[in-house]
Symmetry: C2
Subunit: 448 residues, 2 copies
């Protein structure tokens, strides 16, 4: 190849390669998430990356339209890359409702694309991991979504985290009482910024952007900042919002949800915290809303958020599809796991390494490796008969647990040196016909 | 929502939704593949769906250029959706070589897009599942790729399949002897069609397209159709190709590979068959080539193909990167598993179903479900307190193994009806404080 014709290997800004270490972490996170989803009976679905543009831009506001990767395909159709998994779910549910029936409890783990400004540290391609129960009214479904979040974070190794709960109806009750019901969308969007910009800024934005009076803004700020035990918060909120039907219903639902989670499922009380400032920006939510914070890393924001909605797919079907769901922040969680040292470092995917350094003994090495794999032990055989020290360096870099060193002498005396790459200890094990002594020696080490 | 504003929910031609049943099958296939890859020490990577157009179209011929989904992004850059995982691997290897070192043994399971004519029953979006060892010269690596194919198909439940092997150098030797070396690319492309169009058609295409004489075409046809025991085929080929250095090397390498697989790793001899017609269309292959056929479904074509190449990434780096790899046909395998009844039908992802039909008992149902999950038993609690018969119909449709029927009477007497949805049998089990009797009863059924 002519040097001048060579192309510089590079990726687009905002796009990432996953090297083995990062990819293994992502695979482990996704495997864990899937196991937890399945333990609650959720089923997986997938939808195309490309959809008709009218489907994708039908619901999104101007902001998501600007971020959409869109183009005309070979047939001149306007198409776009999905920017979230909610719009595809709405389209999917409307399209397959008759076949699937209700309820639908699905999870969807897939890539989405947004042509965002990468200066904010955002990626243009990232994974989303959503789970929803659709066609459900009962608090049982809300409780289950929160339980999934709890089990998932626990399974990933997090011990200290807080799920913050609220109900949109409580905020509606407050706004009704304040005579601000018609400005609810803007108020909630402003309130959603509280964690980022602080209470003072929210108060002044409520005036300048949502058109609230100074005293209205002060009341909303006060309400959003109420703090204390869950029980006393409910009591405190009651007189402030309870005279409106929505407000009273919100208090009742939130109280029911807490009982289901604490008295029913037995969640540790310190994990659940009522927080009346949780609004979630989207107008789409109508009931429970929740966010999840890692106590040791509060600044990274919510790692799993969601809520209840009345109508998932009004754009695509006349069928009422109420539901509740949440979305796991895969990138945030991986970053948090890295920071809290919850990620396994080795990139070895098999526990045992066999260096291949007697080039005329390939058949013998392959015979041993096959026997170990048949007994359930993963084995990497080095694919090239190079110098042993080079191979052992490779093994150290990858983080194998054991290396089986077998040179010509060992083959002839039917012995194998088992090297523990963690403790640096060495033992000699006989190579009998079925390798049974070696297999049990290895299993004994791996079981520790 | 105004009826007239509603958007018809639909997917683009050539694109598919995966409903739960299909998605579960895909997840199981991919999980199995990953387990096998890992048991050989392969590690996962991922690359972006979108790449600079020059990277994607640099290597592909005109055909893949036409099929490329390409467009200008928000910054006016020409970009495209990846159409295979080979070009991204080449770019990835060149870009990260220094960091990763050699050898690189990676697997990559990801979606690719091609704007193909869907009339041929092809999809425009599909998954590829590739595995390669890069930076390796030894036959050990070729053998390992074939062993992965064998273990993978076995793990998926296939029992009768044949891996057909050849070496490009043998065909080079033949063409050298016939004085057709300069037409090798076209000859191999024609030969690759043998399975589809038949030997007579190949013979005439060799004349009309590759410019072979009638007697040259006849010799190639004869050679490609040689059949018999592997040993005798090697002997038969020897005089026909062995006088050229390439041909002799090809025979030697193929013979070495067979010994490694049979005498070393102990593959059943009937699984491996030399087939001199295996050419693989791409000019890229330079050594071993292989294809895999299901004996009971030969017509679906090869379900896993690959081979050895001298230079993976010449377009992106001056580093020589020889390697060997293969690609699993995910769609073909899923279709075959469906046809051979190797797919599990139930879409229940948890074994136990709990109907929720006493609406004031949500906390009790949640307590039980949480206890079962803590003991490792997956449980789906129906999310809505509707009529029991409706819930049991749902459970039947989903294919749960057990249903735990607990109404007001059962709660009061601390009893639970365990219904085996397979045998239709019912037993009564006491609900003690820790549910220990129930947990062991369930585990006993699930262990069967």
């Amino acid at each position: 190849m002519n040097e001048s014709k060579r192309i510089t290997p590079r990726t687009l800004k905002g796009f990432r390669d996953y090297l083995p270490e990062a990819m293994l972490a992502r695979e482990r996170l996704i495997d864990t998430a899937r196991q937890v989803f399945r333990s609650f009976g959720f089923v997986p679905i997938d939808t195309p990356a490309l959809e008709y543009l009218e489907i994708l831009s039908g619901k999104g506001g101007e902001e998501s339209d600007k971020q959409l990767y869109k183009f005309q395909d070979h047939g001149g159709r306007w198409v776009g890359l999905r920017f979230d998994l909610t719009v595809p779910l709405a389209r999917f549910a409307a399209q397959h409702l008759t076949k699937l029936g209700l309820p639908i409890k699905r999870y969807h783990i897939a890539t989405v694309w947004r042509g965002e400004n990468t200066q904010r540290g955002r990626f243009r391609e990232f994974m989303q991991c959503d789970f929803d129960a659709i066609g459900v009214h009962s608090t049982a479904a809300d409780a289950e979504i929160v339980l999934v979040i709890n089990d998932l974070l626990t399974a990933l190794g997090f011990q200290e985290f807080t799920i913050r709960l609220n109900n949109r109806l409580i905020l509606s009750g407050l706004l009704e009482r304040l005579g601000l019901a018609d400005k609810a969308t803007t108020v909630l969007r402003v309130l959603d910024k509280l964690g980022k910009v602080g209470a003072e800024e929210v108060e002044s934005l409520l005036v300048s952007e949502a058109g609230a009076s100074a005293s209205q803004a002060a009341e909303i700020k006060h309400f959003a900042q109420l703090a204390g035990e869950n029980e006393s918060l409910l009591h405190e909120a009651e007189p402030l919002v309870g005279r409106s039907a929505a407000g009273a219903e919100g208090i009742k639902k939130l109280s029911e949800l807490l009982s289901a989670l604490l008295d029913g499922a037995g969640l540790p009380p310190e994990r659940l915290k009522i927080d009346f400032s949780i609004a979630r920006g989207l107008d789409y939510y109508t009931g429970s809303v929740f966010e999840t914070y890692l106590d040791r890393l509060p600044d990274i924001g919510s790692v799993c958020s969601g809520g209840r909605y009345d109508s998932l797919a009004g754009l695509f079907t006349s069928e009422e599809l109420p539901g509740v769901g949440a979305s796991l922040g895969v990138d945030r969680l991986l970053a948090a796991m890295e920071e809290l040292h919850l990620l396994e470092k080795p990139t070895a995917t098999a526990p045992v390494f066999i260096p291949f350094f007697e080039k005329d003994r390939l058949q013998d090495y392959l015979r041993l490796a096959a026997a170990l794999r048949r007994s359930g032990i993963g084995v990497e055989l080095y694919p090239e008969p190079v110098r042993l020290d080079k191979q052992l360096k490779y093994a150290d870099r990858r983080g194998f647990r054991l290396a089986l060193i077998i040179g010509e002498k060992e083959f002839q005396t039917a012995q194998c040196q088992v090297k523990d790459l963690k403790t640096r200890g060495r033992t000699e094990v006989a190579l009998d016909a079925g390798y049974s002594a070696l297999i049990s020696a290895i299993k004994q080490v791996l079981a520790c």
